[in-house]
């Protein structure tokens, strides 16, 4: 550690040992010095929690910034995370460490408090995302190349298990839509093979695999309902959603919501929608009409469509405000300067915002008092009040994409 903080703390400790009497003066003296130290890139030395922190991915520079939602500020930058052109983040269950999954197969463990990488491995050639296990001990990564899932210890990222995704067709498949599920399980989809696998991790070194074949053509992403009951994979090559009841695996994968597809019209899709952030609001589930300028609302119990809402473009993310009353939506190129807000009770778009060029992601603070929006081509994050839509803050960031707050640490699926 080359941090000034350590030096100062040591100096402080030594002095304290010498004289109890001057302790008061020292701490008063030390404080401004420590603040200075934090300004030159050292971690904040005062004890603090991480519940109001998060990270934003900076795609072009392979870095993350550590964000503070209380002060709407950036605490610092951590470099050296590799190719983050498609990156996502899971959190340790104590909300202190961010596990960053990079496009280049890099898996990095970042300490939000010391603002440093504690461990990093290149675990595959090309990866898409991951999840942390229910017990917080395992981190699983979904890989495109070589297709499969690799599982690591959260402590030091030592390899625990390797699950090659060889489908019933005998070929290795890209893995998408990896989530964690109750009952110490991971669930994921095989894009090329059209399968959904459930990995039981009770014995971490020997996962027990439950494979569902022929679930549909090209599952492109998956999601789990917030209660962990259902896993749904969106299909690209066919219409509908492949649905698995995780309370009843014997029932198998069912095809539902066939309205969700492209109806053979083969509408071009300029960016694959993400299902991970797709809103499940308790009674309604909110889904993208793939290739359409539409949002589909379905009943979460019956999985039947209840409404279809026209929107400004091809939806990419639809994120529910934490009170589930409204859903914020961003769009694929060429409509990616727009964000729309869908009000669920009235089933209407109540606001259209133009936050900036190439809006890639949005994230709410856990209780919904703020929403942070990344505008990649404007190199900034914009912060809004979700209740009034007032613009309440702005931070510079280098080609920002995903924003991930530590509240994710306690959410099933992530």
């Amino acid at each position: 550690m080359d941090c000034k903080k350590v030096f100062l703390m040591r100096a402080k400790r030594k002095l304290m040992q010498k004289s109890m009497a001057i302790r008061d003066i020292i701490s008063r003296l030390a404080l401004p010095l420590l603040v200075t130290a934090s300004l030159v890139g050292c971690a904040t030395p005062t004890l603090r929690g991480t519940g109001d922190l998060g990270v934003v991915i900076e795609r072009a520079t392979g870095s993350v910034q550590i964000l503070d939602t209380t002060h709407r500020s950036s605490l610092g930058k951590v470099n050296g995370l590799g190719d983050l052109s498609h990156a996502s983040v899971s959190y340790s269950r104590d909300g202190r460490y961010a596990f960053v999954f990079g496009r280049d197969g890099g898996l990095s463990k970042v300490d939000l408090l010391t603002q440093s990488i504690t461990h990093r491995v290149i675990q595959a050639g090309n990866s898409i995302g991951g999840a942390i296990s229910q017990d917080g001990k395992l981190i699983a990564v979904a890989n495109y190349e070589p297709g499969g899932v690799r599982i690591f210890s959260v402590d030091d990222l030592t390899p625990i298990a390797d699950i090659p995704a060889v489908g019933a067709n005998g070929k290795r498949s890209k893995v998408v839509g990896l989530v964690d599920a109750p009952g110490r399980r991971f669930v994921f989809s095989l894009y090329d093979a059209g399968e959904i696998w459930v990995a039981d991790m009770h014995k971490p070194q020997q996962p027990i695999l439950h494979k569902f074949t022929d679930v549909g053509k090209e599952p492109y992403d998956g999601m789990i309902t917030s209660d962990g009951h259902f896993y749904a994979a969106g299909l690209f090559g066919e219409d509908g959603v492949a649905l698995l009841d995780l309370w009843n695996l014997q029932a198998g994968v069912k095809r539902t919501l066939v309205q969700v597809g492209r109806h053979g019209e083969k509408l071009p899709v300029y960016k694959m929608p993400h299902l991970e952030g797709w809103a499940t609001t308790g009674d309604l589930i909110v889904l993208p009409g793939v290739g359409q300028h539409e949002i589909i609302l379905a009943d979460q119990n019956t999985w039947q469509e209840v409404a279809r809402i026209p929107v400004a473009g091809q939806p990419v993310f639809a994120i529910a405000r934490p009170d589930n009353r409204q859903v914020w939506i961003n769009f694929a190129f060429p409509d990616n300067e727009t964000v729309q807000v869908l009000d669920l009770p009235s089933r209407s778009i109540v606001k259209t915002l133009k936050p900036g060029k190439a809006v890639l992601h949005l994230e709410f603070t856990p209780r919904g008092d703020q929403v942070w929006v990344s505008a990649r081509d404007d190199n900034r994050i914009d912060i809004y009040d979700p209740e009034t839509f007032e613009h309440i803050g702005r931070l510079p960031a280098d080609k920002p994409s995903g924003i991930f707050f530590t509240s994710r640490a306690n959410r099933t699926g992530l």
């Binding site: 052109s85 090309n126 690209f236």
Partner: protein, 92 residues
């Protein structure tokens, strides 16, 4: 190999960023592959230029590769293929 078509420097800069960012969402920002295959010189050097241009403009039916002809002209697609085969410029 076809001569690179003449595009304004500004348009070239836009295209570099467009390819790395928006094509990059499927092909990777470093174009080393993602849901779509790698678009590196190694991967593309032996593929016919005309076919690659047509893939970009018309897309490939039955796969997620969409047509881009609404947003790219033929000479722009040619410029992109030329760049991809030689090693695509960096965004910065």
């Amino acid at each position: 190999m076809a001569d690179s078509p003449h595009l304004s420097l500004e348009r070239q800069r836009e295209l570099v960023s467009f390819v790395r960012q928006d094509c990059g969402s499927c092909h990777g920002m470093r174009l080393t592959g993602g849901l779509g295959p790698a678009l590196t010189p190694d991967a593309l050097k032996d593929k016919p230029i005309a076919a690659l241009i047509s893939t970009i403009l018309q897309g490939r039916a039955g796969t997620p590769m969409p047509p881009w002809n609404k947003f790219l002209s033929e000479s722009e697609a040619t410029w992109i293929v030329d760049g991809l085969q030689k090693g695509f410029p960096d965004a910065r």
